[in-house]
Symmetry: C2
Amino acid sequence: MTRDTVPETNRSLPIALLRAREKVMGPIRAMLADVGVTEQQWRVLRVLAERGTLDPTEIADRSCLLMPSLTRILQTLTTKGLITREVHPTDKRRQLVTITAAGRQLIADNLKESQRLNAWLRESFGADKLDALLDLLNELDALDRDPRG
Amino acid sequence: MTRDTVPETNRSLPIALLRAREKVMGPIRAMLADVGVTEQQWRVLRVLAERGTLDPTEIADRSCLLMPSLTRILQTLTTKGLITREVHPTDKRRQLVTITAAGRQLIADNLKESQRLNAWLRESFGADKLDALLDLLNELDALDRDPRG
DNA sequence: AACTTGCCATTAACATGTTAAGTAAAGGAT
DNA sequence: ATCCTTTACTTAACATGTTAATGGCAAGTT
């Protein structure tokens, strides 16, 4: 009965995305656990290493985190000595976040393993498929918002 | 410097998967919020509607949830009167979870809107691309585990 | 200047993610 | 029957996801 009207979870895009993400993140999480940082903390550090000093709003945007989560993460990273924070010189509402030498070192220490995991993925899954997948995902993300039309 | 060694987050599969998921889930979350259930609770209810009575372990597997999360969710759903639980007749370790009439009603009430969102996605993104994306994601999920080789 | 509006970041409250440990029951071996 | 291992589920502890409300500050309006 319900089997005819309720779509199979197999063809559900949200769940498919979730499972794929789990597949990819599992090994990365394991690697990061050894160093004592979470996946999200790692994302923040990488963004800071990529772009240099940023304010929290831009970090949130680039690392795909919501501000409340980021607030807690920045506190944690500060405690761990991986970032520093200072108030914006002309706008006291804002902050400037910078990765420390220790933070860069942490990234450097794990970059090789991170790249090895990426290489494994490209080989196992196929470079062509991986690129095709990334293109599709980016296209999806670029879709016009708001399906209430 | 770091720009040469640290891969851009744009081409990071984990982040691309995350952003794509956000794009798809946003509207669905909004719909479910009106009914007072979360995305995960919705997944559990759908699995139960699809497959009938199941034990928690199989629910966790099919709805892509970890057991600790599922334990809390099943408690919530029981409180809300959307599911019932009973101990397995021959194996007292196990349980049997069944969706209630109220649970089925909740699904029925939201099915149309859910399908409308799916239709919007197919139109906006393209049916061919959507299918290609789902195929790629399923292939990825089917990859051999364990990249420590 | 007083008011208003908007923005940045934080906090609060609740739900889930994640890993590890704990509890109870089932199954097999001695 | 006793012991050991495994299985199914729960709890605990900490981190994040998510929405709403709050506080501090900036900028425009009157």
